[in-house]
């Protein structure tokens, strides 16, 4: 028995997974070849679960900028901006992000996770009320615990439930902050943002949208769900990440709040961690330029997403509510999910096995994320592998050929 014995329940659940001869939480790649291919156990494998939405991780210009900045400015900043100062790149990146969103201010964090920790623990404090969607990402829950605000959870994507809870707070002092996500990471569903914006206006609350999975994915210019829904004016704070569509690492928050810069001396997850290295900053700036200059990337992404979603749905797999770059297939139970995932992997298809408690409604999911860089052939190959494994496990509800003909 050690000090970690308190996690025995998780150990038991994890061991049960490992008993299948797989470790879905620790897949070891021999190498990664491109945004869409890696090598696993010596086998070239299609990457269909890495959130690489625009496929920019191997973009030659982004790589060149990263190399150049690293040569000129070194591999790291060796500390925080408070202690070691701000590099030109940090300022340039913040200006570029603010400009992209048409906002007065932007602040960059070292990861998307830290952006949520920082923003949620600083914008609201003791006596304030943080209203979280029940299906919020772990970073939102963790950020809510880092601050001192009262945290109230409302039913997922349910503006009426949110309204009811805000109404209960009538007459109670303190600011109210509503937190929702553009695209939810497990099922790929979007928030009903127009309705949430209406609740926000009626109740005088602030609204924060986490566009981690929707930046570069949704909206006329790729700004995310708020743009797609035409409610950017109602969104007080947008949080996001550079680690998905922009192919690097880091997080950000943008806002028009007049006194936004006070965050730089009160936001602990910003102040007490090393700032982003020059190479990461440089590739991110270049990737943002590509995102803005090449809307064709977004078109390819959505085309691929729809092809995968329609293909899986037509075969009879239970998919999420809408065709977004996150396509999740719900499995009947954990046993089937693990075996299915293992067979997909052995067939050369990598995606995420998502199990409770990390999933909404305790679903066991095969979670895919599509990239603009996937070829049509890769998407079709993925569909073929799904069909083959479905047949081998004897529960594919319809014949692949007939389903494909109906497309």
């Amino acid at each position: 028995m050690t000090i970690l014995a308190k996690h025995a329940g998780y150990r038991q659940a994890y061991d049960a997974l490992l008993a299948h001869g797989v470790d879905p939480l620790n897949v070891q790649f021999d190498s990664v070849l491109s945004p869409t291919e890696g090598v696993l156990n010596g086998q070239t494998t299609i990457l269909l679960g890495t959130n690489n939405y625009l496929g920019l991780t191997f973009d030659p210009d982004c790589i060149e900028k990263a190399v150049q900045a690293t040569r000129e400015q070194g591999t790291g900043t060796t500390g925080s901006r408070v202690a070691n100062g701000t590099y030109n790149g940090h300022t340039e990146l913040e200006k570029a992000v603010a400009d992209f969103y048409g906002r007065k201010h932007a602040m960059v964090f070292s990861t998307g996770y830290q952006a949520n920790l920082g923003v949620l623990s600083t914008l609201v404090g003791r006596g304030d009320h943080l209203m979280l969607d029940a299906d919020s990402h772990a970073s939102i829950y963790d950020g809510s615990r880092l601050g001192m605000a009262e945290v109230i959870r409302f039913r997922h994507n349910n503006p009426d439930d949110l309204y009811k809870r805000l109404r209960r707070l009538e007459g109670v002092p303190g600011d109210r902050m509503i937190v929702v996500e553009g695209i939810y990471s497990m099922l790929g569903d979007t928030a009903p943002l127009k309705e949430f914006a209406a609740v926000k206006r009626e109740t005088g609350a602030y609204l924060l949208v986490d566009e981690a999975h929707s930046l570069g994915v949704l909206g006329e210019t790729g700004r995310g769900l708020a743009e797609a829904e035409g409610v950017e004016g109602d969104v007080d704070f947008i949080v996001g990440t550079f680690s998905k569509s922009l192919g690097s690492v880091g997080g950000f928050c943008v806002s028009d709040a007049a006194d936004f810069d006070i965050m730089r001396i009160v936001c602990r997850p910003y102040m007490f961690t090393a700032s982003l290295p020059p190479g990461v900053v440089a590739s991110t700036i270049e990737a943002l330029k590509k995102l803005r200059a090449e809307p064709a990337l977004r078109a390819s992404l959505m085309r691929n997403a729809k092809r995968l979603y329609d293909g899986l749905s037509a075969m009879g797999f239970q998919t999420g509510p809408e065709a977004n770059p996150i396509v999740a297939v719900t499995m009947p139970d954990q046993e089937t999910a693990v075996v299915f995932w293992k067979l997909l992997l052995e067939s050369g298809l990598y995606l995420n096995l998502a199990l409770p408690p990390a999933t909404p409604t305790n679903a066991c999911l095969l979670r895919t994320s599509v990239s603009a860089a996937h070829t049509t052939q890769q998407i079709d190959r993925a569909l073929d592998i799904f069909a083959d494994v479905g047949r081998r496990l004897g529960f594919l509800p319809s014949d692949r050929r007939r389903a494909a003909g109906a497309l």
Partner: protein
Amino acid sequence: MTPSMRNEISTIFEQVLGRPVSITDDTDIVEDLGMDSLGVMNFVMAIEDFYDLSIPLDRVAQIQTVADLIRAVEDLKIGNAA
């Protein structure tokens, strides 16, 4: 707890779990009723709807037994009325 409140809570448990339950003050919601985290969340939301209140997350974390739950609901009802 008052008999009416016990009945109300018992009914909500049964609705969420889909089976009859027998509860006392000392009933441990997770251990004795076999609820997972999703079950607890659904149950808490059903309680919130019924009593027209919101139980903040830090308060939810402190609730282990039925008596803890009753206390939280009563405190919040008094707080709302004040």
